[in-house]
Amino acid sequence: MTGLAADRRTFLKGLGVLGAAALVPGCATSTPSGSGASAATGELALQSSLSSEQTKAALAKMIDAYNKTGGKVKVNTVAVEIYRTQLPTYLASANPPDVYTWYAGSVANSYAKKDLLLDVSSVWDTMKNYPQAMQNLSTSDSGQKIFVPTNYYWWGVYYRKSNFAKWGVKPPTTWAEFLQVCETIQSKGIPPIGIGTGGTPWVASAWFDYLNIRINGAPFHRRLLAGEERFDDPKVKAVFSKWQEVLPYFDPKGKSIPFQEATSVLLAGRSGMFLIGAFVADSAPKDAADDIDFFQFPIIDPEVPVAEEAPIDGYFASKRAKDPEAVKKFLTWVATAEAQELYVRNSTGTVIPANPDGKSADTPLVRKGKAMVESAKELTQFFNRDSSDALQPTADAALIKFMDKPDQVDQILKDWQAAAGKVFKA
């Protein structure tokens, strides 16, 4: 610790040098470049979460087509998991992108409540043919249209046709038949119900959603997820009692694998059935793709109007978009059957255009999925889309714990209500 003594003047001089050095990088780049860059060029900045290879290419083709009609849209793709966490920042930033890909329903509504989204009611004037359910999901609490749906997919219980034939079982339609099928498959030494909650715990919510909308109906489900009903309600407990009936048929290995691995397990015939979204067919190897089929989640109470899970994707726009008219023009175009067909044709094989006039991929699987969703009395989306990304972890914790320790259901529901209460109050 014996340095040479520096007199005050040398010290101050040194400080000055340091200060100048710190300024240098600042001077070299004294023109801060804005990120949106749209103000000057009249370009629309489209922030896209469609980062996987196929969806990215499909969006690029769609935007090319729009730009040929005289529009000017520039896409910026961000990995979906980054996008999910950064979206609030994008919307609230000083220079927000104009248009965003994201989800309909309460997710969009939560941003509308913060007054971040552009009112696109005039776009909806051109969308009279869209079903009522989509209209509702695109409307904010204050009655403005804030979202333009472009495509959706569906959920179902997936299986391999060849395996079902081998085991001598037929797709069930009622709960009793479903239990029977589980029993038969188990007797062949195969875990009947595959699941993958290791790292992807949210897939367990599909079971909760479906059991709840089959037993208590979609309106109750929506109220529950909006915080207007309680998770420790006896009606919710009934859902878990029903779940307990099939719990012994779940693949015990499902806890330790992510759902992508569970898909491989199903394809390899090491599990019988898998409640999952239509995207499962996209990750199948080509030789197995034709062998994959699904059935509607079995009906439990015939009195309850049939509801299906159909997550809807589309676009919303920033309230502070630089050119709201250009945004509306673009959104009007993406709502057309033509634009959506263009996207769907080039994207993964399992998305369906939101515009009822749009043609989907003509495969038996997609035809069946589309028919199922269209015949449903009610539509829900998925747990996080019907509530919020903040409520999803409370469901994950409760459902995973339930699958481990089904006998503690009362305590689990009490904890869930406590955790959810905090989210709703926040």
């Binding site: 010290f11 340091l18 050095a21 780049t29 290879e53 910026n76 994008y90 000083a94």
Partner: protein
């Protein structure tokens, strides 16, 4: 006899430990050569049933990995040079001169390092936006320089403090001012420490994900780590392509490590002996 037993036991155990260490990396390399259909049908954990180079090609093209790597290097190299440059100047002043409050300054720098950087996420993203540097690589460089400075100064201070005082006195007698002493005497003597820190900071900055997704919004400005994340779809992910992209992204840090390996190992002992 017991000696031989001991030796072979040691080698066996250490071999096992090294295998455990290297197994995940090997696994990624193996996956990167498998085809999508193979991974989808047999799962990630199974032995390979296929062999393909096409994953590397699609990682290179789809993730635009070339541009991402360039971005990474454009950020990493200036950030390393600037932070080490500033840190060595600061350490020189603090270690070799009786600067008032030098202990306080040093402790403040150390304190900053003990705070988890995550708590600064929101202040930084707001600040960067207010100053108009949001979504620029310059912002990212500045963040890395700022965060590195404290730790590098601390380490270099420990190293410079132990350099013999006589050298500096001799230089002073020969008429060298503080700047000259820094550039011609202290800096050359600090080379081993600088090389070790350089290799370390290169790895840290190159591998950073958190700050790049906080300060950068445009896809074409993203460094390689978020670009790799971009290969992951919402539901369908080509793990083989991601693995291939990861292998490619590991090359620069590996090259730097191999180049500075000698300093790296000796550098780990920096400041250990006071």
């Amino acid at each position: 006899m017991t000696q031989r037993l001991k030796t072979s036991g040691y080698h066996l155990a250490m071999g096992l430990v090294s295998f455990l260490w290297i197994a995940p990396i090997l696994w990624v390399v193996v996956i990167s050569f498998r085809s999508f259909d193979d991974v989808a049908a047999n799962g990630l954990g199974s032995l390979p049933h296929s062999f393909t180079f096409s994953t590397y090609k699609s990682a290179w093209q789809d993730a635009d990995e070339f541009r991402a790597l360039i971005n990474s290097l454009v950020v990493t190299i200036p950030a390393v040079v600037l932070s080490l440059g500033f840190a060595s100047m600061a350490a020189y002043g603090l270690a070799r001169y009786n600067v008032p409050f030098r202990r306080t300054v040093l402790l403040l720098m150390l304190m900053g390092n003990l705070l988890p950087p995550q708590i600064l996420l929101i202040p930084i993203s707001r600040f960067v936006e207010l100053t108009g540097y949001f979504d620029t690589l310059i912002a990212l460089i500045a963040v890395h320089v700022g965060f590195g400075l404290g730790f590098y100064t601390f380490v270099l201070h420990g190293f410079m403090r132990d350099l013999p005082r006589e050298i500096q006195e001799a230089a002073t007698i020969d008429g060298a001012g503080p700047g000259k002493i820094y550039a011609s005497v202290i800096l050359p003597l600090t080379r081993p420490a600088l090389a070790a820190l350089g290799a370390l900071s290169f790895t840290w900055i190159f591998n950073d994900l958190l700050w790049s997704i906080t300060v950068i919004r445009s896809g074409e400005k993203m460094p390689v780590t978020p670009a790799l994340l971009g290969l992951q779809g919402q539901f369908v992910s080509s793990w083989n392509v991601i693995a291939a992209g990861t292998v490619i992204a590991a090359v620069p840090t590996l090259a730097v490590f191999l180049r500075f390996q000698k300093h790296f190992v000796s550098g780990l002992a920096i400041g250990a002996v006071k």
